[in-house]
């Protein structure tokens, strides 16, 4: 029986946060530091013919003014990508409105911003392309001349006999779907401080991955990795948007030239015009279904808008092109994916990593197929649902699978069948009610990018007073990984939570670790913390045994005491002190690591590979009310069920669910960048509207524990898939209410009304 695992604890850093005492990345300061500012391109595509910085340099208080021509900047990429398409500053060409051109460091932020405005740039404008389908054409302007094409990646995935599946089908449903460029909306903007001394540079960053930051920034700055140190600072949200980001190494360039530490913090306008939002996708999908509702085959074509630079695009496209195939027992699949450069804002990782886009298409078509066949949409999912023990065409090994439980339990709690009947009676009202369902899956750590590394390591250090510090290889973004690690260590060492603290991550003291993305932290990092705690327990038990004069095997550790069967005992703190004093202050350190078993990179051509050691599943049910006269959609209730393997901390798990559902609502019916020829028109939270308190319907979260054999105590990922099925569930609920299909996100009243009116004609 676990004494800590499975209980609700508030975050261990709650007190600092609620008291305003936690120093976030944007709060951090060093003595004598300067403030930087960036000059960004006002045009979408053009050659830089001249840059005049003379006026900026004359402003009192300015300490450095830099352009790409002043420096010999290497080309680089992120995530081990072979196409090196980025430089820290545009030297010859600008490729989107927001591209970084020049930098200023000054004694105050205001002076730096003023000086940047005094830099004069002359451009020779080039034809630009904003629609990825246009950008794929032969005669389109080429955005990166060195590659000779805008198609950054093409993927072709073939399983089984798709043509036969389509010939055998009773029903074929198809559609063209599109999704928007959505910002993460973390409340703390990107920020960083860098200090360049000699040929070493040290960063203090609110980053999701100090290790990836070091790897990428070393390449971008032309340094060896060992010249770069990264200290992670607390983040005010991340959601995928705080992996590698140019602002950080730009601080380093300014520090190198000025000789002083340099800080930069994005404005919200910078965030909404020049960060790394979600990859917009156009998805054509066809689903072939037998008369019994069995999914026979699927054909898919995805065109993903990379924006001006690659970033995590290839991994995101791969995820969109493969993951949702594993949700159901579908054997015949033909998918073609294209990742395309455009002159739009570059895109990157965002909670869900391509899955919200592709599941929107798939889960809408599944609903359509059910309706056409006269099968209940929940039932058709149960017919096809993947199960524990399945090995999918992508070679995913489902060691646990609670999908059917998610579907069954959520339809019960949502009173699915009763509501469906009840809402039919509202068909002639102005406000018509409907209910929709959708499912999805995700990974718990994703073996996509780096051929040389996977897994997680952790160290558990016990000081002479018996207090414990955990050094993880993963970062807490606010999702609560510090608390999860502390709970795991408290469980294994049988000590109070108050005795444990968890370090922020850095490249100096922490184990080498990938950081936080791909729902990897609880499963991989949790296993590593558990392993390290067990190692520490073993070492402590040996010391206790010596002190008690018995064999280590005769000792049990419970409630912070080592006890023998005949009633002798010694306290945890006393053992820690003895261990330390006997060895000149050397404290007990437990080392732990976890390499996910049976996991591999995908095959470069077929994309087949068991990319994760545990797969979480989700089903979400949304009730809506649609105004037939205005197209307005109101959300009435959401039931969200999650096979998370094991809820290590139910209150925090629910917190993840509620937050992800809100983000899913944003993705579904509210958020997107409004773009005109590459210019983002909605550059503030006022105009780029995200869900607020009054937009949220009542939420019910169901945590379903399928107990995965590879998860610590059975735990799998949670935070990402809890977003994914919301948008299609809303779209399906709208169909249930007013009988129209919305295939473009975000769904707005105008589009709903247009479809209702089209339907009438």
């Amino acid at each position: 029986m676990n004494s800590v695992i499975g209980k609700s604890f508030p975050l261990i850093d709650s007190e600092d946060k609620v008291a305003g005492k936690l120093i976030y990345g944007s709060d951090f300061a060093l003595h004598g530091m300067l403030y930087g500012a960036v000059l960004r391109s006002p045009i979408a595509h053009g050659r830089i013919s001249n840059i005049d910085t003379s006026k900026a340099k004359q402003i009192p208080g300015v300490r450095a003014v830099l352009t790409g021509k002043d420096l010999n900047l290497p080309h680089y990429s992120v995530a081990g990508e072979k196409w090196l398409d980025e430089q820290l500053l545009a030297t010859e060409k600008v490729r989107y409105i927001g591209d970084e051109i020049a930098l200023v460091a000054a004694v105050s932020h205001e002076i730096a911003v003023d000086a940047v405005k005094k830099i004069k740039v002359e451009y020779e404008e080039l034809p630009a392309v904003f629609d990825p389908e246009e950008a794929m054409k032969q005669n389109a302007p080429v955005i990166h001349g060195q590659f000779g094409t805008n198609i950054a990646r093409e993927m072709n995935i073939n399983h089984g006999d798709v043509e036969k599946a389509f010939r055998d089908a009773e029903v074929i449903v198809e559609g063209e779907f599109s999704t928007g460029r959505v910002h993460h909306g973390y409340i703390e903007p990107n920020a960083g401080v860098a200090d360049w001394r000699g040929d070493n540079v040290t960063f203090w960053l609110p980053t999701q991955s100090p290790v990836l930051a070091r790897m990428t920034y070393a390449k971008a700055l032309g340094l060896a990795k060992d010249k770069v140190k990264v200290f992670q600072l607390p983040l005010g949200g991340g959601f995928g948007g705080k992996l590698e980001y140019k602002l950080h190494p730009l601080c380093a360039l300014l520090s190198k030239i000025s000789g002083r530490p340099v800080k930069m913090v994005n404005t919200r306008q910078d965030e909404l015009t020049a960060s790394l939002p979600r990859v917009p996708m156009k998805i054509k999908m066809q689903l072939a279904v037998s008369k019994d509702g069995v999914f026979l085959g699927k054909k898919v074509k995805i065109i993903a808008d990379n924006g001006a630079y690659m970033n995590y695009g290839p991994g995101i496209l791969l995820s969109a092109a493969t993951r949702n195939d594993n949700l159901y027992k579908i054997k015949n699949i033909k998918t073609q994916g294209f990742l395309v450069y455009t002159n739009n804002m570059p895109t990157g990782a965002f909670r869900g990593f391509g899955c919200p886009q592709s599941h929107f298409a798939q889960e809408t078509l599944v609903d359509e197929a059910a309706v056409k066949l006269g099968i209940d949409p929940a039932e058709i999912r149960l017919i096809n649902a993947s199960e524990k023990g399945d090995v999918t065409p992508h070679n995913w090994h489902l060691g646990s699978c609670g999908l059917s439980d998610c579907i069954s339990q959520s339809i019960e709690v949502a009173e699915w069948r009763a509501k469906k009947e009840l809402y039919k009676k509202t068909k002639n009202d102005v406000w018509v009610k409907g209910i929709g369902i959708a499912s999805c899956l995700h990974v718990s750590g994703n073996r996509t990018f780096l051929p040389f590394f996977d897994g997680s390591s952790s160290e558990v250090r016990i000081n002479e007073e018996g207090k414990v510090t955990v050094f993880p290889g993963e970062v807490d973004l606010g999702q609560g990984s510090k608390t999860v690690f502390a709970m795991i260590v408290a469980e294994e060492l049988s000590i109070p939570m108050e005795w444990i603290s968890v370090s922020d991550m850095d490249t100096e003291r922490c184990p080498h670790g990938m950081g936080t993305f791909g729902d990897r932290v609880t499963t991989l990092g949790g296993n590593a913390a558990k392993d390290a705690a067990i190692d520490a327990r073993k070492k402590m038990t040996e010391v206790a045994a010596r002190k008690l004069g018995v064999e280590a095997t005769e000792i049990t550790l419970k409630d912070a005491f080592f006890r023998t069967k005949d009633g002798k005992s010694i306290g945890f703190a006393e053992v820690a002190e003895a261990a330390s004093y006997e060895k000149a202050g050397a404290t007990v350190v437990g080392y732990g690591s976890f390499q996910p078993p049976n996991v591999s990179m995908v095959h470069p051509e077929t994309k087949v590979g068991n990319v994760s050691c545990a797969y979480p599943f989700v089903t979400q049910i949304v009730e809506v009310e649609v105004n037939r006269h205005t197209g307005e959609v109101k959300l009435l209730k959401i039931v969200s069920s999650h096979d998370l393997g094991k809820a290590i901390n139910p209150m925090m798990a629910e917190g993840q669910v509620f937050g992800a559902v809100a983000m899913g609502i944003g993705f579904g019916v509210m958020e997107s960048m409004v773009e005109k020829k590459g210019a983002v028109c909605n550059q503030s939270f006022k105009h780029n509207y995200m869900p607020r308190t009054t937009d949220m319907p009542p939420l019910v979260s169901l945590l379903i524990e399928s107990n995965d054999p590879n998860g610590p105590y059975g735990a799998k990922g949670l935070g990402e898939p809890a977003l994914t099925a919301i948008a299609p569930a809303i779209a399906n609920a709208i169909y249930d209410a007013v009988g129209v299909r919305l295939r473009s996100l975000p769904i707005n009243p105008e589009a709903v009304l247009k479809e209702i009116n089209r339907d009438r004609k």
Partner: protein
């Protein structure tokens, strides 16, 4: 043009020379170096910079420091009492209202503003009072729960 500005923050008087366009938020964060008050948008859209100004919740990014001359400001740092956290802070922790924590100081100050005007708000009143505050982590569910807990805790203290 610069002005001598005197503001009482958390009970202490601060006198600083500052430009006419220095916001109250920058005065608090950059001059007084109290970074518990957060900057999320600089535009009045996110609520992270909320402080109490003469007892009323305001957005410190939408006010100039010179406007606060001669007035009293309470920030999140001033809320923590000598004997520890205030009831609102404790309730937020208990309810699991805190994730990344970046919106939290603003949410807590807004809650203080709300409860001082309306000690027993309905859920709808809570949601309306916090509508100007963005949180991207929580879906607001546990924050609303935290406010309810705080209201209850205050009413029990008064009895």
């Amino acid at each position: 043009m610069s002005y001598a500005v005197n503001i009482k923050i958390n009970g202490y008087q601060f006198s600083e020379e500052c430009d006419e366009n220095t916001t109250l938020l920058d005065f608090i964060r950059e001059r007084v170096k109290l970074t518990g008050t957060k900057k999320g948008c600089d535009n009045g859209d996110c609520g992270a910079c909320t402080v109490l100004f003469d007892g009323k919740a305001v957005l410190s990014c939408m006010m100039l420091a010179v406007q606060a001359d001669g007035h009293e400001v309470l920030t999140i740092e001033g809320l923590t009492e000598e004997n520890g956290l205030n009831e609102i802070q404790k309730s937020f922790i208990k309810a699991g209202a805190i994730q990344c924590g970046y919106c939290t100081p603003g949410m807590v100050m807004a809650t203080l503003g709300l409860l001082s005007e309306n000690p027993d708000p309905t859920e709808e009143e809570i949601r309306k009072a916090l509508v100007g505050h963005l949180c991207r982590c929580s879906g607001y569910e546990n924050i609303v729960k935290g406010v309810k807990l705080a209201a209850k805790a205050f009413s029990e203290l008064k009895i």
